[in-house]
């Protein structure tokens, strides 16, 4: 029985709710609701004007129906009418309705805003609060436009009641969050900050949320709040439990206010003023001390409130990262919580320690708890706690414990929840790469990852292991051997086949000497998995086969037999069919030299940011991967190449010397610098995006340009073109790439309106690589290619700029020799 009378109870509403609850089925419920809706509709439309009480009742019923989950498309007008009533309960229901069923009808919005304005200026605090609550609940742009100017005034006015001030502060906060540009604090700033000193704790509590948000966006304007916050906090922390009366919660003085003050302080660096800083440090020490004292109450509310303040204080200490004494104490406190009875505290301790692990002062202290954390990983029943333990292991990992941690994470992965496997895989991959001293350990780890959680090993992970193996000569043999052994398992994951296929294709020769892994054995091993794999994997395997033909001529006839079979050359998948046909042809007509050149070993990859880190960051949100980590990754990645000369930043645009030897596929030619494009907008670098594309394809094109010559074009991972003319193009002169002779040949010719796709096909048909997103004008086409004559290689770049209106196009070709450019232009012009 309620102690106080609750006013009218809207009997009709209660009856209606009972009816709904008594409905035996969903259909009965819908029937009853429809009946009521019809009733209400007729009452609203009826001739008799409804009295306030009835209107209130019906609007409330509509609200109830809406909250059940049904759509309501009327009643707004009546709700708005209720707003202008002088009866509090009617106003209340009206406001509740319109804040729950937000309507974007502009006429209604105008009426609502009017009603709010009236209530705001009514000087009746209860009405003002209702209006402010409504604005805070809806927070629409229209409301911000109408009231963002008025509310700060109400907030700081001397005669505003405390309860109204509280509502005004949080209302303003809501408006600021949704329409920051409309809330101009300017003249109110200092008065708002001064609210921190208000006598009424409720006002301070509300104001501080507003100030925290504003400080984050305008730290300088609000920095005077720091010292005020510190003194307020200090007063609370040192107060006896009887001082704060109503604001003491289970013997803890003002816990919400304390937490908010500590949050506010996290928006700023440690205070510069010595006195302020001293007071703050004293505060924090007091809080840490109190945690060690016996509790004043057995109730969980007491310990939760006390610990809430403690955790927030620890967050502040971590944020400052400048008081080693406090950091170590915080770490020890968290260490105690790690073994606490209460699961909540263990969870929070693990979470807090994660942040602590990245501080240089406490990193070592955190590491001392490694056994506890590993134990948590193994024994915690709650999956969210286990996940936190895994996160902490990741954060505390460094050279000294990497092997141990990776091993633990791998064994955890075997039984981990499916929802977290992908993230775990990424983390293990990152750790293995970052702290690998011995790269064979790295290769083992990744292969283990594939074995344990193959489905969750994303492309970035296995691309990376291949990049690393290719870049490091010392681990290639080991990789080949390990992968060969791994493939022998009866049921191995498709990702393993991909990695195995690629590595054996490149480095199978390193283990071919051993009779157990002779070429034919390798081929049969790979081929035994062929029919179990998806199309992309099969495509990769086909590429591996042609590489085998190059590496091991003795396998040629066996492999050709396979390629020739109907299941390959008449395969229903276009990609597979194309590859089978072309590889077969290539193997039969190319001389060994040509074959060797086309299928030359993949050159080392240039350095770039690990795409795995990027993927993890994307998954977890921006906070997950610290900038330090990313930069470290870049630095440490320099070791990837094993100190090779290749390297250098491939993302440089234009003039920086980049390994454009890679660009043009010239392993034998002199290192070529990327020529500065005369127009300034051409991006010479082909490696514009991180991430390796699909393995490669060979496409046989018979081109009219070269008349009866059969030309084989191909491009592999890095969009390198090898255009191998099989006849000598004798009219070409020997050329060397020389950056000092940029040439442009401008051809204007009329042409019929072309569709972009058609143009693309033509350009691709020439065997050049079409570079996307290189030219700022999306209408233009940019291509790059290498023309390999028997004696020389000629790099060329091409830009086609169509001008639809003028029905003309401009074709620019650049290569090192005028004659080559001219000839290419002529030939290409024929195409268009």
């Amino acid at each position: 029985m309620p102690a106080v009378s609750k006013g009218d109870g809207m009997r009709g509403l209660a009856v209606f709710i009972s009816d709904i609850r008594n409905c035996k089925s969903k259909e009965a419920e819908i029937k009853r609701i429809n009946k009521e809706l019809a009733n209400i509709r007729s009452k609203f439309k009826g001739d008799k004007a409804l009295d306030g009480y009835s209107k209130k009742k019906y609007v409330c019923k509509l609200l109830f129906i809406f909250l059940l989950g049904h759509d309501i498309d009327f009643g707004h007008m009546e709700a708005v009418n209720l707003l202008s009533s002088n009866k509090y309960t009617e106003k209340q229901i009206g406001y509740l309705f319109i804040s729950v069923l937000v309507n974007s009808n502009s006429e209604l919005i105008r009426l609502i805003n009017n009603a709010i304005k009236n209530d705001l200026s009514s000087r009746n605090p209860t009405f003002m609060c209702l209006a402010l609550h409504c604005i805070a609940n809806v927070g629409s742009r229209e409301m911000a436009e109408a009231f963002a100017g008025e509310i700060p005034r109400i907030l700081v006015a001397g005669d505003t009641m405390d309860s109204v001030k509280q509502s005004a502060a949080l209302c303003l906060l809501r408006l600021y969050k949704t329409s920051p540009d409309l809330v101009l604090m300017g003249e109110w700033t200092s008065r708002v900050v001064h609210l921190l000193n208000d006598q009424h704790m409720g006002v301070v509590t509300a104001a501080i949320s507003l100030i925290t948000c504003l400080s984050q966006k305008n730290p300088d304007e609000f920095k005077t709040c720091v010292s005020l916050a510190v003194s307020r906090l200090s007063r609370i922390v040192s107060s006896a439990s009887t001082d704060l009366q109503d604001y003491t919660y289970y013997f803890v003085p003002a816990p919400w206010l304390s937490c908010k003050l500590l949050r506010l302080l996290q928006c700023y660096p440690p205070p510069e003023d010595g006195a302020v800083k001293g007071r703050l440090v004293e505060c924090l020490e007091t809080i840490l001390n109190k945690a060690q004292e016996p509790p004043k109450s057995k109730k969980v509310q007491h310990s939760n409130a006390k610990n809430a303040i403690l955790f927030e204080a620890i967050s502040l200490i971590i944020h400052y990262d400048s008081e080693p004494n406090l950091l170590v104490r915080a770490c020890n406190q968290l260490g105690q919580f790690l073994q606490h009875r209460e699961t909540n505290l263990r969870y929070l301790a693990l979470e807090s320690m994660c942040t602590l692990a990245s501080s240089e002062f406490s990193h070592e202290a955190v590491k001392t708890h490694i056994e506890t954390v590993i134990n948590a990983l193994k024994t915690e029943r709650d999956v969210s706690v286990r996940q936190r333990a895994a996160d902490l292991l990741y954060a505390m990992c460094d050279r000294s414990n990497a092997k141990q941690i990776v091993a633990e994470m791998l064994s955890y992965l075997e039984t981990a929840d499916y929802s977290i496997r992908e993230e775990m895989v990424l983390k293990v991959a990152i750790l293995a790469e970052k702290y690998a001293v011995d790269y064979s350990w790295y290769v083992d780890t990744i292969l283990n990852l594939i074995r344990i959680a193959g489905d969750y090993v994303s492309e970035e992970v296995w691309y990376r292991v291949i990049q690393i193996v290719i870049n490091r000569d010392d681990v290639q043999g080991y990789a080949a051997k390990t992968v060969f052994e791994a493939l022998q398992a009866p049921a191995c994951h498709e990702n393993m086949v991909k990695v195995g296929g690629y590595i054996l294709g490149e480095f199978g020769n390193l283990i071919a000497g051993d009779p157990r892994s002779s070429p034919l054995v390798q081929f049969n091993l790979l081929h035994s998995k062929f029919h179990l794999c998806s199309v992309p994997t099969r495509a990769l395997l086909l590429s591996a086969y042609i590489k085998f033909i190059n590496l091991f001529p003795e396998t040629k006839s066996t492999i050709q037999e396979v390629l020739r079979s109907d299941s390959q050359i008449r395969n229903s998948d276009v990609e597979l069919q194309q590859r089978a046909v072309e590889y077969l042809k290539l193997s039969s007509i190319a001389s060994t030299d040509v074959l060797a050149t086309v299928l030359e070993e993949m050159p080392p990859f240039p350095e770039r940011e690990s795409s795995i880190l990027a993927k993890l960051k994307k998954k977890k949100g921006p906070g997950a991967v610290s900038v330090n980590e990313l930069e470290e990754g870049k630095r440490e990645g320099g070791e990837l190449n094993g100190g090779g000369e290749r390297g250098g930043d491939s993302s440089a645009i234009a003039s920086t010397p980049s390994p454009s030897a890679d660009l043009l596929g010239l392993r034998t030619g002199p290192p070529v610098t990327a020529a500065a494009p005369s127009t300034g907008s051409l991006l010479v670098d082909v490696f514009s995006e991180a991430g390796v594309n699909d393995d490669g394809f060979l496409s046989t094109q018979v081109s009219k340009i070269y008349n009866t010559v059969l030309v084989v074009f191909g491009y592999f991972n890095k969009k390198i073109l090898h255009i191998v003319p099989l006849n000598d193009l004798s009219e070409r002169e020997l050329v060397t790439i020389n950056e000092q002779t940029p040439q442009g040949v401008f051809v204007m010719a009329p042409f019929l309106k072309m569709f972009r796709a058609l143009t693309c096909t033509i350009l691709l048909g020439l065997g050049m690589a079409l570079l996307e997103n290189v030219d700022p004008n999306p209408e233009n086409f940019v291509c790059a290619g290498v023309i390999q004559t028997k004696a020389q290689q000629v790099g060329s770049l091409l830009r086609l700029e169509p001008n639809a209106q003028a029905q003309m196009y401009r074709l620019t070709v650049r290569s090192s020799k005028d004659t080559v450019s001219k000839r290419l232009c002529e030939l290409l012009a024929e195409q268009f």
Binding site: M201, W256, N344
Partner: protein, 163 residues
């Protein structure tokens, strides 16, 4: 706080308060997924979980789950106590509150919530002051509450069960 949901053990939503602008469709989707996730948790598990990019803090009081979604930097333990304070307020207002009170007086539950939290932040943390504000508003009403409505209720009072 981004939103607060109250739902029964059967997954019926008793109160929904949204502090961020979302479409109705999104709200329904979130509700469905989150209710399912929370109901799947076992009793001894901790009160916090990560869901999408939010932290979820929940606690069960008798037949009702109170579930809040907070942002990454918010304090979980204090949110638990926000939930508790809200339950205390309801309890004081209704006198040994139970789920039925919230069903039949849903509008009151919203009003009480608004006096305590606004825009997702704690507005007034003194229990006395919040109740005073609500009672003042009630005094503005004229018709006495019909007592026989209490006869509808027979369910166990859930506030007794918090420890």
């Amino acid at each position: 706080m981004q939103f607060m949901l109250l739902f029964s053990r059967q997954g019926k939503l008793r109160l929904q308060k949204w502090y961020v602008p979302l479409s109705d469709k999104e709200k329904k989707k979130i509700t469905r997924e989150l209710v399912q996730t929370v109901l799947a948790r076992k009793p001894k598990m901790c009160s916090f979980l990560e869901w999408r990019d939010l932290k979820i803090v929940y606690k069960r009081y008798a037949s009702l789950y109170f579930c809040c979604a907070i942002e990454d930097q918010d304090n979980e333990l204090i949110t638990l106590e926000i939930i508790h304070r809200y339950v205390e307020l309801l309890d004081k207002y209704f006198g040994s509150v139970c789920e039925l009170d919230i069903i039949f007086n849903f509008e009151k539950a919203y009003f009480i919530l608004d006096e305590f939290l606004l825009g997702g932040e704690a507005q007034e943390t003194s229990k006395k002051n919040v109740l005073k504000a609500i009672e003042q508003a009630d005094l503005l009403q004229e018709v006495r509450r019909l007592c026989f409505l209490k006869a509808f209720r027979g369910q166990k009072h859930f506030a007794e069960q918090y420890s």
